[in-house]
């Protein structure tokens, strides 16, 4: 699909990638706060770090002076990272104040994001949260005392609902409330859950159930209606019900090949490989010197087939592969 990015998003991306002065791409050595969100497997990831001007007496009065990021991801992921750092630096925030920066503010800074890219801004907010948590540990600040609960960190445990992006029930539940998500597409756009195989959408305990838990069941919920079993993954080929003689036929073919056919071919520096046998069809290929020989097909058909018909079973047919 074509890009529907705002001019601001495009410009931030270009400035960042082309290293325009004043942009925030990079890493801070020995940062005061460091946080990551996402993974290379999921398609986007953000590494966020900041430095503070330390308050001599009260760590909660530390002020963020510098913010940097490294981002793996699409245009909007990189632009959102740039926006996050710009907002944080311009605000002159303490880390606790910075926590109040939401993904909506990032979206606003970017002059909007396409719906399916909203998760890029959420990723920024999540990485920021992780970095503040890291700062609090380093500076001995008890976040709980300041009324801060960091959903993401506490919900490490819990049942995985979206296996594609490894998202747990507590995490999704928290985000449904926090980001005010009312439908499965909204969940997918914001935190990517349910965006790949989609099997968690209407499964028991899946996204629709979590939405119903949060906001009450909706009359339009698909939950009750039976859904056809999806089979998106390649299915292993089912094997043919084998007639009883298959094993014996195979053994006999092998013996006939060893005793009569292979010695003849070997004389010319060739060989034969049986690729498969089904019923009386023998799939085989000539190897060695015979492989490139113009008479190979004729050899197979005449010599191999005749020999096997005589030695094993009149029904045998040879197919060259």
């Amino acid at each position: 699909m074509a890009w529907e990015y705002s001019e601001k998003t495009r410009q931030l991306f270009m400035d960042a990638v082309h290293g325009k002065p004043g942009t925030h791409m990079g890493e801070i050595e020995d940062p005061d706060g460091f946080g990551e969100h996402g993974s290379i497997v999921c398609g986007d990831a953000l590494r966020f770090s900041f430095r503070v001007k330390r308050h001599p007496a009260d760590p909660t009065q530390d002020v963020i002076t510098e913010a940097r990021y490294l981002t793996f991801g699409c245009t909007s992921a990189i632009a959102a990272s740039e926006a996050l750092c710009a907002i944080i630096e311009a605000g002159g925030f303490t880390p606790l104040q910075a926590l109040k920066v939401t993904n909506q503010e990032i979206v606003k800074y970017l002059d909007g994001l396409p719906n399916q890219k909203v998760h890029c801004s959420v990723m920024g907010a999540e990485a920021l949260e992780a970095a503040v948590f890291n700062w609090a540990q380093k500076r001995g600040v008890d976040l709980a005392k300041h009324g801060v609960t960091l959903g993401g960190e506490k919900d490490n445990d819990g049942r995985i609902v979206c296996t594609c992006f490894s998202l747990s029930e507590p995490y999704i539940k928290a985000k449904i409330r926090e980001l005010n998500l009312h439908s499965i597409p909204e969940i997918t756009n914001a935190i990517k859950a349910g965006g790949a195989c989609m099997s968690c959408h209407h499964a028991p305990g899946g996204l629709q159930d979590l939405l119903d838990d949060a906001w009450g069941p909706r009359p339009t919920s698909l939950k009750a209606s039976p859904t056809a079993p999806a089979s998106p993954e390649p299915v292993a080929p089912t094997s043919v019900p084998a007639p009883l003689s298959a094993w014996q036929l195979g053994k006999k073919v092998e013996k006939a090949v060893d005793d009569y056919i292979r010695p003849i071919l070997k004389k010319d520096g060739g060989d034969i490989e049986i690729v498969d046998i089904k019923d009386a069809l023998i799939y085989c290929r000539l190897k060695g010197a015979c492989a490139g020989c113009a008479g190979a097909a004729t050899t197979l058909k005449l010599m191999v087939e005749r020999t096997l018909k005589e030695q094993v079973d009149e029904r045998i047919r040879v197919i060259a592969v």
Binding site: V41, C164, S166, G195, S231, P234, V321
Partner: protein, 409 residues
């Protein structure tokens, strides 16, 4: 803005000026319904039959009645698969591959939901099929084998003629379909000799310099097939609907041009090979998807480690270069391409794929620009990437690979 360099010909192609010119009269005074009785309409009817003849000529000079005109390759594929299933109720098994275009893959999944048994053949790291696996999949109740001629993303070519022969020798009742959308006009296809065992072959016009909105389906004489679009007696009662005359004429003209240029396709291959060499020489941690397998001469699909494909495309676009990617961010889903996943591309490059696809209109000057710009784009984006080791200028070591089901937050 820099001049546009179009390197996305596997998505669609520019309409050839000759095609446009050939279509024009059928928008003007040759507007008659080809089914009408008066003399003026007869010329239009004849234009369609001449077009059928031209298409048949490109495909090995086969009898023209075996060509059915459709609206696109997706329709051709739907018509072939649903038509074959409806005409052969006694057989319930279909074999296809995991890397088909959605126009086949999703139809097969739909057929599976309707109770048919579908085997999706896997591919290896090079994107190739295992012949032994194919043979093992053949069953007494196999109805249809549908294997694409060349993959649209990687350009990897499947040995369709050989697969068709093996299927037919195993059981002449098995129908063989191939989606040849990426190969008609690029590779010689002779349905009277080498590909004589193929029963059904789909392709579309807009991949070979005809406009969008027209396609064709080859149906070998005697192939049991129910019509897909039911209606009037057009196309020998195989497809209802008034014929799209200007587009059919456009498709035929494009086929004639493709036939005339077929001998020059190796020039496109040379350009591609040079581009590939230059990129591999100037970019580290990049792989050619489908390397080592037979590939279309026009296609170059790269897996770039540590950066994401959509941002690569954006940067290329800013330089005027049109390409595409199998990255999640460029698809409707959040998953990377099913083709690259089936090929088990390494996870550090799965989201970093870029496809350049050239055409006979691509010039050496254009590929030279791509070869210069692409390494710069990769270097810039790697500077921003957390997975690039900036000190050693290489892919970072120890990138976690969270397995599905393991919470990472």
């Amino acid at each position: 803005m820099p001049p546009l360099i179009y390197a996305d010909n596997n998505a669609t192609t520019p309409v050839a000026p000759e095609v446009r010119a050939a279509m024009a009269p059928f928008f003007d005074d040759q507007y008659f319904n080809p089914s009408s009785m008066y003399d003026a309409a007869r010329a239009v009817r004849q234009a369609i039959e001449a077009a059928r003849h031209q298409v048949a000529t490109l495909l090995g000079g086969i009898t023209p009645e075996q060509i059915l005109f459709t609206s696109c390759a997706t329709e051709s594929n739907n018509a072939a698969l649903f038509g074959a299933v409806r005409a052969n109720p006694g057989r319930r098994h279909i074999i296809t591959t995991a890397v088909e275009h959605p126009a086949v893959l999703e139809v097969c999944k739909e057929l599976a939901r309707n109770g048919l048994d579908v085997t999706f053949l896997p591919v290896d790291r090079r994107g190739q099929l295992d012949l032994a696996e194919f043979i093992r999949a053949l069953r007494p109740d196999t109805l249809l084998v549908s294997v694409m001629h060349a993959n649209n993303e990687t350009g990897v070519i499947f040995p369709v003629a050989e697969l068709a022969r093996i299927a037919k020798e195993t059981n002449p009742g098995i129908l063989f379909h191939t989606d040849a959308t990426q190969t008609v006009g690029k590779l010689p296809i002779d349905l009277s000799t080498e590909y004589a065992q193929v029963d059904l072959l789909s392709f579309s016009g807009h991949k070979l310099h005809a406009p969008k909105g027209v396609g064709a389906l080859f149906i070998k004489r005697g192939t049991p097939l129910r019509p897909y679009l039911i209606g009037g007696h057009q196309e020998n009662s195989r497809r209802g609907g008034t014929e799209n005359v200007p587009y059919i004429v456009g498709l035929a003209t494009a086929c004639r041009l493709a036939g005339e240029h077929l001998a020059e396709e190796h020039k496109v291959g040379t350009l591609r090979d040079e581009l590939e060499e230059r990129i591999l020489a100037n970019v580290s941690f990049v792989e050619v998807n489908g390397h080592g397998a037979p590939r279309l001469p026009n296609t170059l699909n790269l897996a770039v480690h540590a950066i994401e494909g959509e941002s690569i495309l954006f940067e290329l676009d800013a330089a005027g270069i049109c390409a595409s990617s199998g990255s999640a961010c460029t698809s409707g889903s959040l998953e990377p391409s099913h083709v690259l996943r089936a090929m088990q591309v390494p996870f550090t490059a799965m989201h970093g794929s870029v496809r350049f696809s050239l055409s006979r209109y691509t010039t050496a000057a254009e590929t030279a620009v791509i070869a210069t710009v692409f390494p710069e784009v990769v270097a810039r984006l790697r500077r921003v990437s957390p997975y690039w080791d900036h000190a050693r200028n290489r892919l970072a070591a120890d990138i976690p690979n969270p397995a599905a089901g393991t919470p990472h937050r």
